[in-house]
Subunit: 306 residues, 2 copies
């Protein structure tokens, strides 16, 4: 088993892999785009896969975009796609609260307008989005006004995150019946130029620490992301390929859902990291070892044209 | 050993314990005061201990007060004390950066004006205190302006904590030479009426998660708090009693420093919690088991008058 894991794909091996699958699930950032830049060749890859009859889906932990915003970005970049194949954490969160939690009430939202929009689209209203400034001195933190209809605290990326929001989340969560759901646990967001900024996982950790509970997570590597794809498109898992640049989210998701996994080196993850997981001997870390790796998905092109 | 741990003190046993020590170290909140209310009898206890020739010291993880602010509060409540026996995390942080770290540079401060004041008193300047509002849209988080003189990020209680502050801390800490120091790890602050608000530990967890490092901690249960007392007053540890209401900070500090330990039940900790630690069989948790417990330090009074 271990021998065949994490092998470099090139030439005819790429064609062999692509012939063995009917569906390909792509992460976005670091795989098909990097921030505002498209990965060269990526639109051709997606368009050829579709032309050849494959199902193509996108799963992203980015909670700051709606499905439509993602699809618009893809279309502008030259990808021939529609929003129904885009599965972001904003959308999947709304699905989770509606279909899994059967939420009957409002959400206290630490997150973005995109999350607000996707929640409202399934009939869930929110309070909390946007700035929550401190007013007055010597504030009575423990007695801030709360909305009695709130039945869940949800945490995604929020540039307006503040002590006040943390405190409000904690006060809501002092009710054991109030749910705590996070979009994802990514701790750092890589930007162009190698810089990093804090990601949702940092905010979630603060809320979890205050509330002394663990959040339920919707995003990768939770299988719920793929459940959303599976429910709408029923792709056979054994003929499904997960392509991503992060070992702890993308590759682990593929592993958790029984897909073949391919690491692409246009993003965060490295072969050295994957090898370290492989050789660690830790059972837990084996899920982060991809079956294959490739320099860029652009290498699919000859196999798809052939 | 285990048999004698966590025993209830009353009557002659109190006098026996007090006769066996020359120095008493008190936590503040939950021991001598509760928020704005003095614990009945506490001023008499402290004043009698001093009159009988004991050294009396106060150690508090509260980072929102200077030594002077604490002393002023104590004096107003009727305690006969001076600020040189008050050891709060604001002051101890300044000592730590100056004497242990030999900091040569500025501090990026996530914290209070009290911390700023104590730092400046030992010649350390800061940037960061107060609100750090977001200005403009589509902000370039990874390239926010940084102060090149900053050599340490310090984290205490900060009601102005925000994503921007978290991000700035992370950018400073991307330099491996930049220190990360926290005042304390308390995760929740109990207020009157049984309510809780998020405490410094939540903010610290967010920063640690973003920076992928662990902070050095100045406050209880770190022995550094007591080192500050010891350096200035040289109390013999075997004739020293630690009195506190929290098992994980106060009692653990006493244990870490070889003091006798007494839990008082006017605050957070309960006998049931202490018993659970005692009976856990976990070596690690034995440090949170007090030698003795008492309903309130007011019970010292007859022994001190006798």
């Amino acid at each position: 088993m271990a021998v065949s894991k994490c092998s470099h794909l090139s030439g005819p091996l790429i064609k062999q892999l692509l012939d063995s699958v009917d569906n390909v699930v792509f992460d976005c950032d670091g795989v098909i785009w990097r921030g505002k830049q498209v990965v060269p060749g990526a639109p051709d890859v997606i368009n050829l896969l579709k032309k050849n009859g494959n199902g193509v889906y996108f799963v992203t932990n980015n909670s700051t975009k709606t499905r439509k915003m993602c699809a618009d970005k893809l279309i502008l970049m030259g990808f021939n796609v529609t929003e129904d194949v885009v599965f972001g954490t904003s959308y999947c969160l709304a699905m989770y609260l509606k279909n899994v939690c059967k939420l009957d009430g409002k959400v206290y939202l630490i997150g973005s307008n995109a999350m607000k929009h996707e929640l409202e689209k399934v009939g869930i209203s929110q309070t909390g989005v946007g700035p929550d400034p401190i007013s007055g001195n010597d504030l009575d933190w423990a007695n801030v006004p709360l909305d009695p209809d709130v039945k869940a605290v949800v945490v995604g990326f929020d540039e307006h995150f503040s002590f006040m929001k943390l405190n409000r989340a904690m006060q809501y969560l002092s009710n054991p019946a109030c749910l705590l759901v996070g979009t994802n646990m990514d701790t750092r967001l890589p930007l162009e130029g190698g810089k990093l900024v804090p990601a949702t996982g940092c905010l979630l950790k603060a809320v979890e620490t205050a509330a002394q509970r663990q959040a339920q997570i919707v995003g990768k590597p939770s299988h719920f992301m793929f459940d959303c794809v599976a429910q709408q498109f029923s792709p056979g898992r054994d003929r499904c390929l997960m392509v991503g640049d992060r070992l702890d989210t993308d590759i682990q998701l593929g592993f958790n859902c029984g897909m073949k996994t391919l690491l692409t080196l246009t993003g965060v993850g490295t072969v050295a990291d994957a090898q370290a997981h492989l050789e660690s001997g830790s059972q837990e870390r084996q899920g982060m070892v991809p079956d294959y790796y490739i320099d860029s998905i652009a290498e699919f092109i000859p196999a798809l044209q052939g």
